[in-house]
């Protein structure tokens, strides 16, 4: 791997890891945010 390859790889991985970490940090540090952040969880009201 040449130096530019290392740079691209580290920047790419660094940016996605940074973004993911920032999101986790935000979710965990904003009060009650864990209650208000949802994903594609399959908890739909029609199953009740």
């Amino acid at each position: 791997m040449n130096p530019s390859g290392w740079i691209v790889m580290l920047l790419s991985i660094g940016s996605v890891v940074g973004l993911f970490t920032w999101c986790i940090y935000k979710v965990l540090t904003i009060p009650e945010e864990t209650e208000h952040v949802h994903g594609f969880e399959q908890e739909t009201p029609d199953v009740k």
């Binding site: 890891v17 999101c23 979710v27 594609f40 399959q42």
Partner: protein, 561 residues
């Protein structure tokens, strides 16, 4: 959080696309697509879905009609129901392949000495040689696994969150990440697995994957045109190649710069396509799930967090496993011989890697079980848009909807499973749905969000309950840049993949196999595949005709407006 978004695309499709389209150069186009297409559509879908949910609707047709106050826009939502239903029909078959591979790693003999053995196993398992040949009910054929996977999906979706899916997702996703990280560490510590081939190293695999500029060895073909023979990634190979070129006038070494690669429209199409596929945007899934959220929920951070989790799995994990490992064992030329498609890497190259790796059977089992878990979480979410649509349009309860949808997708999946020769049925469905319908839906959704609803009101909808703000720059992006990019992508795709023109001046017009199958040399299975998509659309259309029968679902969050 990102159960639907993390799937086969992260671990198989992404590495193949990066390697095929220039490594580091592809990543530049990929991140542009993520910022200018993926995130904008993602936020637009979350915002429109939640707004529709607040009005009491959970399926895309009624959501689009309700939030714009234009009943005719419900017909646009047809595409958002067709896409997940059709993709489910073949996705569940691929899911069964993964389970079959994992099972064979546990109980069968998966030690391959030659690539041809791995290819033969794959061809026999999926029935690629002859229609109907996948239907054997032993562990060497996918039939029995398909039935098991199909039943598992419907048991989980039938029983609902409290008893089935929650349990599954609670353990499946963390397991997936742990298994992926174990394999990643193993791959990155492989070094030089075969001392007799010192050029076959993990470092060269990473170079093949990530170097933005490429050294390629080209050879003159019969017409005197220079065509790429292989990529050169290390010093030893470069010395050999330089010596070879010096002795042979029909061969040359050429450096492909990142800029030169980025001037290829196909690279941008591939990068945007990968973003669509992996983030599940333009899929019809996000708009349905976000409709179950309340006004207090944070859809801006929810969307960003789901996208970032997906990107983490794709770039930081998926991007470091398959291709580097395959290059370490076979070298660049060996990998080129096997192929770079999603299925080639996952089901032919990697089994060869596991065959030659210490504790390879264990890692093989873990890898394919990981893929199976990722696929199940994705396929489960593909069912909800169809269920929500049937509940609303036929005014029936969830279990009745599940039964009807189960019958429809069982017919479609049986079609894909039976017509397995050359994967004609699967390929046909995939090509028209992912290349055409997904881009059309995404384009329509961003136009509805930014122009019909209005960008200011759209942002207001998105920011309700949000702890973070979408940067203001995205107002301009979502109103002008994203729609224009999507229209350009659609135009380029029609120009090259449907009309058969090449972006490379001088190359003759050549239709893709999918167009040939329909119009040049009509193929019955290809026509049946397109007919299946059309019939699904017709079924949805007929259910949408009476505009007045849309009533808010009984579970609507009344009072939260």
């Amino acid at each position: 959080m990102s159960g639907s978004a993390v799937g086969l695309g992260n671990f198989l499709r992404f590495p193949g696309q990066v390697a095929e389209y220039g490594g580091g150069a592809f990543m530049l186009a990929y991140f542009f697509s993520f910022l200018l297409i993926g995130l904008p559509i993602c936020w637009a879908e979350w915002a429109m879905g939640r707004q529709g949910g607040l009005k009491g609707f959970n399926s895309a047709p009624s959501i689009l009609a309700a939030i714009t106050q234009r009943p005719s826009l419900r017909f646009l939502g047809i595409i958002a129901v067709i896409i997940p239903v059709i993709i489910y029909m073949y996705y569940v078959v691929i899911e069964a392949w993964c389970l079959a591979y994992a099972t064979n790693y546990l109980f069968g003999d998966m030690r391959f000495n030659e690539t041809s053995e791995a290819t033969e196993f794959f061809v026999n398992l999926i029935g690629a040689a002859k229609d109907g040949s996948a239907l054997g009910f032993d562990i060497k054929h996918v039939g029995v696994f398909f039935i098991g996977v199909f039943i598992l999906n419907f048991v989980l979706i039938w029983r609902g969150i409290s008893k089935g899916i929650e349990f599954f997702c609670k353990y499946a996703m963390p397991t997936l990440l742990i298994v992926a990280l174990i394999i990643l560490v193993r791959v990155l510590t492989l070094g030089t697995p075969d001392a007799t081939n010192p050029d076959r190293t993990i470092a060269n695999g990473l170079g093949y994957m990530w170097n933005p500029s490429k050294q390629v060895l080209e050879v003159k073909d019969a017409d005197g045109e220079w065509v790429r023979e292989r990529e050169i990634v290390d010093a030893n190979n470069m010395e050999d190649a330089t010596a070879m070129v010096a002795d042979n006038k029909d061969k040359r070494l050429r450096q492909l710069t990142a800029f030169e690669q980025l001037s290829n429209p196909n690279l941008w199409l591939a990068a945007a396509g990968q973003i669509f596929f992996s983030l599940s945007v333009g899929f019809g899934v996000i708009i349905t799930y976000s409709s179950y959220m309340t006004k207090k929920d944070d859809i801006v951070l929810s969307g960003l967090a789901a996208a970032s989790a997906n990107e983490f799995c794709e770039v930081a994990v998926g991007g470091l496993i398959s291709i580097p490992a395959a290059v370490a064992f076979f070298g660049v030329s060996g990998l080129a011989g096997i192929g770079l498609s999603t299925f080639d890497i996952g089901f032919k190259a990697l089994p060869m890697v596991f065959s030659q790796m210490p504790a390879g059977m264990l890692f093989g089992f873990l890898f394919f079980f990981l893929l199976f878990l990722a696929a199940v979480t994705s396929s489960l979410s593909m069912l909800q848009p169809g269920i929500a649509f049937l509940e609303e349009s036929l005014n029936i309860n969830r279990r009745q909807s599940v039964a009807i949808l189960g019958f429809i997708v069982a017919m479609g999946s049986a079609f894909v499973l039976y017509f397995s020769a050359d994967l004609k049925a699967l390929d046909t469905l995939d090509f028209w749905v992912t290349n055409l319908l997904m881009v059309v839906l995404a384009t329509a959704q961003i136009i509805v969000f930014a122009w019909v609803i209005g960008i200011e009101k759209g942002f207001e909808m998105a920011h309700a309950g949000a702890a973070i703000r979408i940067p203001k720059l995205f107002k301009f992006t979502m109103k002008y840049v994203t729609p224009l990019l999507l229209i350009a992508i659609l135009g380029c795709w029609l120009y090259s993949s449907v009309l058969g023109y090449s972006f490379d001046p001088g190359k003759p017009r050549e239709y893709t196999g999918y167009v040939v199958d329909l119009f040049i040399e009509p193929n019955a299975i290809a026509w049946m595949g397109v007919g299946l998509i059309a019939l699904t659309g017709l079924f949805i259309f007929l259910n949408l005709l009476p505009a007045t029968h849309f009533k808010p679902a009984p579970t609507a969050k009344k009072g939260i407006k």
